[in-house]
Every structure is written in C-alpha cells, then in structure tokens.
Symmetry: C2
Subunit: 179 residues, 2 copies
DNA sequence: TAGAACATGTAACGGGTTACATGATTTG
DNA sequence: CAAATCATGTAACCCGTTACATGTTCTA
C-alpha cells in the first residue's frame, strides 16, 4: 500500500495524458488545449486539471519540470503515464451522458408558458449557430495550414453534425410551439 | 432560518416536481417515468430520486401519503411544489453538458490501435441502433392510443434526430478508419 | 498605464455513482 | 417454489463546479 491516493485514473486525467503526447505543457496550456479539442463533448475546468495533474505527478504518470517565469511549470508524460493512457483507452468506453436543461424545459412544455419556452429556444439557437460557425471556421483554418489529424477530423465532424442537428430540432420545435 | 437544508432546488428535483403534475406517484414510479421520458438527455439514478424526494418532503414541496403494501409511499405535489417548479423553469436554462467517452477515444485516434477503436464504434453503433428503433416504436405506440403531449413530441423528435446523427457520424468514422 | 491574458492553485460544496442492505409480491 | 419485479432506502466515494486568492507579463 505505497499508494496513499485512493482514486484511480479517471477519464479526465486520462485525456490529460493523451494531450501530453503532443509535447510537454503547463496546466494552463492543457486547459486551453482540452477546451479547444474536447470541450465540445467533454467539459472540464481548470480546478480539475490542476488537481488531476497533481495526482498524476504524485503517481509518476507525469514529471514536472522546474518552475519557470510566472511560476510556470511544465508537465511531461512519463513511460508509466504512456502505458496508463493506453490501458485506459483500451477499455470499452462507457455510454455518453447528456444533461440538457433546455430539453428538460421542453419536456415540460405542457406546464410552462409557451412564450417563455420559445424565448429560451431562440436564445440557445443563437449560441448553437455561433458554435457551428466556429467549428466550420476552425476546421477550415486547421486544414489549410497543417494536415489535420484523424482524431481532430472525427471530432470536428461530430461537432458540426451535432450542432446542425440541434438547430434543425430547434426550428421544428419553434414551429411546433407557434401553434 | 427555519430551513436547515442548505441546498436549493436543483434541476433533477425540479423535474420530479414536473412529473408529479401528472399525478401522485411512488419514488419507484418516478424513477421509471423519468428514465422513460428524460433519461435520454437527463440521466438520474434511484439514489438521487429518493434523496431528492426526501428533501422535497422536508421542505413542503411534496406531501407523502401513508405507507401502503410493500412500504409503498405515494408522493403528491403541493401548491408550494407547483410554484417552485414554475420558478425553476422560468429561469433561462443552462447550456448542455455532454460527456461522451467514445468521442474521447476518437479524439485520441492517433495514439490508439485503430482496430480497437473501430470495434468500440461498432459496439456502440449497435446500442444506438437499438435506441433509435426503440424511440420510433415508442413514438408510434404512444401516438396511436393517446394524443401525445407537446413535451413528449419535442423530446421524441430530439431523441430520434440525435440517434440518427450519431449513426451517421459512426458510419463516416468507420469509413475514415478503414484507411 | 491599464487591461487582457498568462499562470497557479485551494477550499468548500453539491450532487451523481456505486455498492450495499432488506424485504414483499407477482408470475411462470 | 424460484425468479423477476416491485419497493425503499443508506453510506461512501468521486468528481465537477464555484468562489476565492495571488501575482506576472504582454500589448494597445
């Protein structure tokens, strides 16, 4: 029982190991990269990232470089970390979890003021339109000046399909609620 | 400070109040109903339901009937509960949260054995096909012998669109990974 | 020179998941 | 009479969110 930390590697920590394959990074960089790459379908916060990095370091899955300017600290993947990553991702992935407050509201449409529900949908429609545009733009930019990786191609495709689907649903919902 | 319970109404508890609009129910029934109606985009467990029901009862948002056979206990919405529901759902809903482990794996496609990833997608493809079929069947059954509510129409539509989108993405992903 | 972006973290809380524990009733 | 389903709950843990706290460096 040398390991005093009770918890095992979790999906969030495993992804951090994944990103460190691309090179050593600070916690800050990891937050930004993760948000950019997987934020679409795997939300995480910086608190989590720093907490997991600390645990990964304590367990030898990452190494920390010396403190640089601004207390900057670079994390590097170790061989143990690499195999922990492989182990994690060799397991059958669990089913997805979705928590969609707007859909909750929609599901109670019969007990909520229709005008309010329509407004909620309209507001959310804007953010989804913006997200779709962003994905399309980012995809274009990245394909232009570098060969896009398989991983990124797959996730961009999902993001775009998802947003398009949501927008279509919203249009149908708004039409349905006009009556 | 009569209320000793620190936490406020949360989305899960608010939905329980929503379901109780349809009539008084046991915790067990609520678990089943919630799973059927919103499980698709709002996962919850029975532990949560019983915990929230207890809190709702302590705070006068539901009333508990007498114990019946099998320790059965029926929960009934109170006027306070009704207005707490309305208050909750009059607020702008938060953005959706998605946690999709398979997409995490896909995003690291470049560091994972392609064959394994393909197998994962194929397995998940089966469950999504099954879900799609189930939604379509349920929708048919429900439209046939009762006028379907607006809420259910909207959520069925979302579920079907979502599953179709996922299946399309998976087909594209599998094709992409064959190379 | 002010504000944005960089950079690191801690503390407390809320709440979702898992495992455990128990027992009654219906149905094949 | 065995198995499935109905029915209720507790305890512990993990982990995600929010708020707090501090300070540096770049850039307009």
């Amino acid at each position: 029982m040398t390991n005093k930390n009770p918890h095992k590697l979790n999906a969030t920590a495993a992804s951090l190991l994944g990103f460190l394959h691309e090179g050593s990074m600070t916690g800050w960089d990891l937050v930004a990269l993760a948000d950019n790459r997987i934020g679409n379908f795997w939300n995480l916060t910086k608190s989590q990232v720093y907490r997991e990095l600390q645990w990964l370091a304590e367990n030898g899955l990452v190494e920390t470089g010396p403190r640089g300017p601004r207390e900057k600290r670079v994390f590097k993947l170790t061989p143990d970390g690499k195999s922990a990553f492989s182990d994690w991702f060799s397991k059958e992935p669990a089913e997805e979890i979705i928590r969609y407050p707007l859909l909750l509201s929609a599901s109670f449409a019969d007990y909520i003021a229709p005008a309010a529900l329509r407004d909620f949908i309209k507001t959310h429609r804007c953010t989804h339109t913006a997200r779709l545009e962003k994905y399309k733009k980012d995809l274009l930019v990245q394909t232009r000046h570098s060969n896009i990786s398989t991983g990124q191609a797959l996730t961009f495709s999902f993001g775009i399909r998802y947003e398009e689907m949501v927008l279509q649903w919203m249009d149908e919902a708004l039409e349905h609620l006009e009556k």
